[in-house]
Symmetry: C2
Subunit: 334 residues, 2 copies
């Protein structure tokens, strides 16, 4: 039996290009005692993956040259010599960009395809969901009546952040690229306002959309948009630094926020988050989010691309802003 | 009776220059009921004064063109038609860069020259003292055994921050310009280490001076030094944004911290402070600081320049890094 996989061939300088990746067909190894074989069905594509390609100290080890590219996955157990998993179980983990994975099961958890579509376990019930939930509620600490702004608002994390903030009674303004995304935020997700950074002056649009100023800013993008929001923050504002997708493919130094002294004038704070710190509380978040999906308060949008061979181009959609909702790669037909 | 005063003639672009200021000799007005006349003895010179010259929204109104330059002052009541103040009282307030001031006394408080030298009420027992005390303890939250780094360490705020952190059981590293200041930090103030940013590679020197990383960074300077410290912070580090003296005379945009994504990797926060938020608690801080001075745990260094006519050049000493300790202008002989 052959396995299809994408390996890291070369660390990119700037954007990942065709020579970043190596497509390989390898043999699926025989199972040893304690191992199981997973047929992966969905692969998660996330902005954070770009950071994992850099040979730099970060919150997680870089992917090694020659290794299968790291990615969150959900799939089905097709063979097992591990007493904790049986054939037919569905499992979620970080099995990487490949069709089959052999693992000892230590970093896996079972998921139930009857409770939610499998792809949700990579999105709203997975890492992006946990990121948005804990980043907003624990670090942003939104209060009813406050104004929250979220960038990358049509993405997996941003869309959830805005919807949770609505549930908490906030005025919610999303920043995204293009009219279609902005309409989606307002018409589908129930945001109060949306700013199209590609066609609008973000600072001016923020003034209009946030007449009472900005209390919480959940930042997925960094760069000029972070600087624009810094000009509009209120006293004691909280800025959640979740990511900086505008800067991940830089070949020049990251653009630091020139307006950071607004933190001083406004006694505001800017705080970084990493989702893994909240592992012990994931069950609480999953229960809340599942409940909101069930009640219709949270709508889920997945952007599915079919075919593992499309991985390199599909990953780039994130950085080009071409995905609407959570981007996943569907491996095969099943 | 004539008053000597420095008025704001023109908003500076970049550094304040000779045409920024107008020296005037004006008549001291007659006292009306409820007013008192103060003969100012010491004028406080602080980096924040540069910000007050800009016509921009900030935590305090800009100084108006033609007005006496705002400054903290301490002086003696020489005439009073106000029942709360008597001739001979010593008073502290913001009476500006002038020899005499007439006021209704609403924003004044009395000080006791027997408890501390008068100039201390502008420094360690005044605004810089309160800034360092609350900024470090409430926002930096240092714990015994942690490493704290402070920039502008030989200045009024920085010197106090480092000494309080020593009292709290921290390893304290100061960043200052020049060998004399660095020796002062170690030999006089008891810092564990000092980094001379003018002659050393700050990032490399931080690695050596902070073998366990940086838990709290109290930033008075911004710019490249903030960026260097960001590369050395620990998990859950706290960065207190007190000022950015390296950026105040910029004619180009403020340099934002390129390494701010270290906040994300390290789940760290950067928070701005303004001293006035703690007014209700000033008495607690003054009691603590006075106690530490009395016990010898805190040493006070004032840098006194005599002669109100020297105001423009003396203010520039702050931005050139020429002061060692709290910079004050002594008005006259008394």
């Amino acid at each position: 039996m052959k396995n299809k996989q994408w390996q890291l061939a070369k660390r990119p300088f700037g954007e990942a290009t065709s020579d970043t990746w190596l497509y390989a067909e390898t043999d699926v190894p025989e199972l040893k005692d304690g191992e199981l074989l997973i047929k992966i069905q969905y692969i998660s594509l996330d902005p954070a993956m770009r950071g994992w390609l850099n040979d730099a100290k970060s919150y997680i080890e870089p992917v090694q040259i020659g290794a299968v590219m790291r990615a969150g996955t959900v799939g089905k157990v097709v063979a097992s010599k591990n007493e904790n998993f049986a054939e037919g179980d569905y499992v979620c983990g970080h099995q990487g960009v490949q069709e089959y994975a052999v693992t000892d099961g230590k970093m896996l958890h079972k998921v139930d395809p009857k409770l939610a579509p499998l792809s949700y376990y990579l999105g709203v019930l997975g890492m992006p969901g946990m990121t948005g939930y804990f980043g907003l509620l624990k670090t942003g600490e939104p209060k009813a009546g406050e104004t929250i702004v979220v960038s990358g608002a049509a993405g997996a994390v941003g869309g959830l952040v805005g919807q949770i903030a609505k549930i908490k009674g906030c005025r919610v303004v999303g920043i995204a690229g293009g009219a279609a995304k902005c309409q989606f935020l307002i018409n589908e997700l129930g945001f109060d306002a949306a700013i199209d950074y590609k066609s609008q002056n973000v600072k001016k649009a923020l003034k209009d959309a946030c007449p009472k100023g900005v209390d919480v800013y959940f930042d997925n993008v960094g760069g000029d948009i972070l600087d624009a929001v810094l000009t509009q923050i209120n006293m004691k504002a909280r800025i959640v630094i979740c990511g900086a997708i505008s800067q991940y493919n830089n070949t020049t130094p990251v653009k630091g926020p020139s307006n950071y002294l607004s933190l001083l004038v406004n006694r505001a704070k800017m705080e970084g988050i990493v989702v893994f710190d909240n592992i012990a509380e994931y069950p609480i978040a999953m229960k809340d989010i599942a409940g909101w999906i069930h009640s219709g308060e949270i709508k889920v949008k997945d952007h599915v691309v079919v075919g593992i061979e499309k991985f390199p181009d599909t990953l780039m959609m994130l950085f080009k802003g071409e995905n609407l909702g959570k981007l996943v790669l569907k491996v095969g037909d099943e």
